[in-house]
Amino acid sequence: MPPDTIDLTIESLVSHLGGVEARFGVLAESNTNQLTVIAHDADVAVGDLFLLPDQRGRRPDGTGERVYIFRTTQYANTLNRQLAMDDVARNKLTMPDAYLAEDLLEETLLELTGMILGYAELVADGSWEFHRPRRLPEHLCVVYRVDPEQAGTAQVINALMGKQLGQQNQDGRIYVGDLLAGEYPLIGVPVYLPLHALSHHIGVFGRTGVGKSNLMMVLLRSILEHNAAVDSGKLDARPASILAIDPHDEFNHWQLASGGSDGIAGVMSDLASNEQGHLAEPFYYLSARDLPDTGPERRLRLSWADVTPDDLVSIIDFSEQQVMFSHAVYDMKGEKWISYLLYTGAGQVVEDIQGDQGVVFMEGTAAAVQRRVSFLGDGRSTVFQPYTGKSGSTYDSQLPQIIAALEQGRLIIVDTTLMGELEQFLLNTCIARVLFHLRRTVRATSVAGDLPQRLRQALGNNENVGRIGMRQFAVAIEGLLEEGKLPYLQDSQVVSPADLPLINLVIEEAPSVLNPDRIRFGSVFRDICRQGRKFGIGLTVVSQQVSAIDNGILTQINSELTMALGNEQERREAIRNSSGDMNGFERELQIQGRGQVMVSATSQDIPLPVQVPLYRAN
């Protein structure tokens, strides 16, 4: 229970809300779908929260008292006992010198319509258990407004909804923001996703300019704080890793250049030296820019040897013939297949395959595949370094170190501003595929001595049958395993993936790699979506559109952070694909402001509107 929550009886709850004199309205018509409340005239906003204390279920021992939580979807001005506001308005407009007399009794009222989010019920241990709205509040019960300005409000909401807000996740949690009541956040009512949401896939949806980057910063910061708590022993939980693709190079220094807050670099620099060793080494920032090869901020390099046909098929359009051809080349040449394709004539390649495997491909197919890998050749890629396998050609890649870092609970930002779109997608795909295969192998292996060989095989390298696969990478991984930098073995036992850090891979501009056409021949991302949670690997799908993402991917996302979307269709899709029931929140999505996000997750019974705070380094 967060320190600022309290045990509440219904009486003390009312007093925390300002006492009976703070009564805002009275329940009028009600059913399990919708409530109507008649309330005092006040400056209100759609999305305001209200509490309805209710004694209907009270048992002799005092348990069973309930507090319903009600959220407005619509307001209407009304006049007490005045049936037709139109007539009044017409008189005001057309009748000379018409006035509205000031009455002692309130004649100007509000009619609120909205939905019950659920109710909290007092249980025997004095705490409140939240339930979905299966019941109905009693007739004419009194309604209290959740007022962000009222001192006790946060305590009340935390007590009633703590579990729904993710505050009671014992295994770690990720801070998203503060619960919104109308237009204003309830400071002191933080909303969290459970840490395991990282491996259960997260969707971040919102049109450009609504604050997705700021949200990502808040999430990154929260993950870093979680790791710090685990590292210091304050929290007995798994660490978490995140590979955050940064297409605008803003995560590292955020708004420092414009006089604002520093980004992750600022947080890292504030760490104590021992913390830096545990949380930031060997690096936390990679870029295609001309950076040193050592230190926490490094130049990013991967190798042609890290790329497999599956990676390319995941990011570029391939025909079925081309897919088969690529696999044939890879079977023959392994990690050298890119250089082979780039430096060998199409006819020769076809001949070589026929000689090696007895399979005949058209030269046109070979040429087409060569064109598709050409973005890596002739120095066009600043990230993917050539590897020919010939003497003098070295395997120059940070992929093994990236994998090792992620397996130790690290935050890694990858600045992709200087990368081509394909390079960025390929980088992501390579890392995802390798991680997925390694974790799957670790899970499948029970004998420590078998692990190195199994890992090699998972990487397609089996010297016994002449398969090259990712030989260089496998060698590097084996070295890291021996050095203890890859924590798959502990006390001569294979570590279960359940004890390894949760890893989340951020897919920016997700429709480019997760659209239905792209993944029709298979995609490592689809595999991760379907099976990743078993191995502790998840995706964060960042997109301006919901509709452009493959349905198979969307159905596997268990937490959606939905910000303002561009149009009606996208809002409909967001509601349709939501993990929680977002029906009734259509209007909410329509009027979302900057930094406001609807959090919907399988771990919650109800969607929660949240205000993401502006990121601050300190």
Partner: protein
Amino acid sequence: MRFDFHLRSQVKEQITQLATQMHSWDDVPKVNDLEKMHLQDAITSFQHTINIEPFTIGGVDGSGDYPSLTYSDSFVYVTLAQGTVYQSNTDRGLKEVGPLGEPIIDFLWLPEEKKQRINNFTAGLGRLAGSPVETVIDESDYRKLNGKIAGKTHSISQLTDNMICPHASDSSNIGIQLRITGELGAAARLLSAETPPDITLIDSTFSLPTLGSAKTSLFFEHLKRWCCVKASQRNLLFAALSKSHGLPGIGLIEQLAKEKLKPDALGQAEHWFLRLPQTGIEDWETTLTDGRTLPPLQTVTYLVRFHRTTPVLRLDIDLTYWQQHLQGKSSEQTKQNECHLFEQLDYASHDQRCYGYPYPIKAAHDRASLTKQERVVLRKQIIDAAVKMGMRRNLFRDASQATGHA
């Protein structure tokens, strides 16, 4: 049952006959040129008033549930009445004056047994009036007026004993008596207040239906006059404003007003009043009131139109007050005084919720109205309380609901 009466030829024929009758009745007033001239002379315009010297104005209205429920051969009647007081205000037009008086809420149980019924009814009327029935009869001038007409003055006890007390099941007559008594009771409370409003309006008329009858009377007649007497004693205006003027040929009067006041070509004349000729004051009579006791005895009656969109209203004022406060030394001065009164009323009739009608009455009406749900809640409360006392719930019934009429 399917509703198809309106399609039957017999029904259509009857409706045509009805319309013919109404049309011929509408033509009844045969006003000669001289009378037209008097009527037009009497039509007086007043200012559309948006600025006025400070004054207070009250309004009362009532409602009820008649009956709320039945038990065996007894009936429970609920009456609700409310008074409001407003002060003229530069910013808001009218501003309500506090503290707001408690509404009059009365639950009356009437069994059919005669003695108990009369006792209960009399006690209920007294509660609504806020004074014992005998006191009201004694202090009211109704007894004197009745004696003047009937030729014999009855004692208080005679009048009390012979007050009309309908059968317990005669809900419409009982309802009328209770509602009007409740409204007049609310007015009486305003008039008796420490700081009473300068003007108190009631949604009614000053008609006295049984005036001149031998001994029988309606209690609200006594109370109505009692309010007039109390108001006059305190130099307060107590007036009854009715939306039903009850006069034929109103179209003629409106036409005369239009001709005299010359509004826009398409517009209706507004901001005018017409005092019906008063025997002994005016030297002319009108045929418009033939067959009607209009103005009622001891009353001055006006027809008034505040705004073109609201109908012509009837305003009854106590004759004594009129003589003391409105009647001037000359007819011009009288008109001046009358204009001032109607300008006050016009000022109070500009609220957006009921433009053209004094808002204090509307406010009182809104607060005294019982919604269907409120009636249901009250019934439940009454039944629950009775059941707690040991009565059987299933003997209470809402007659209309039990027979499927509601």
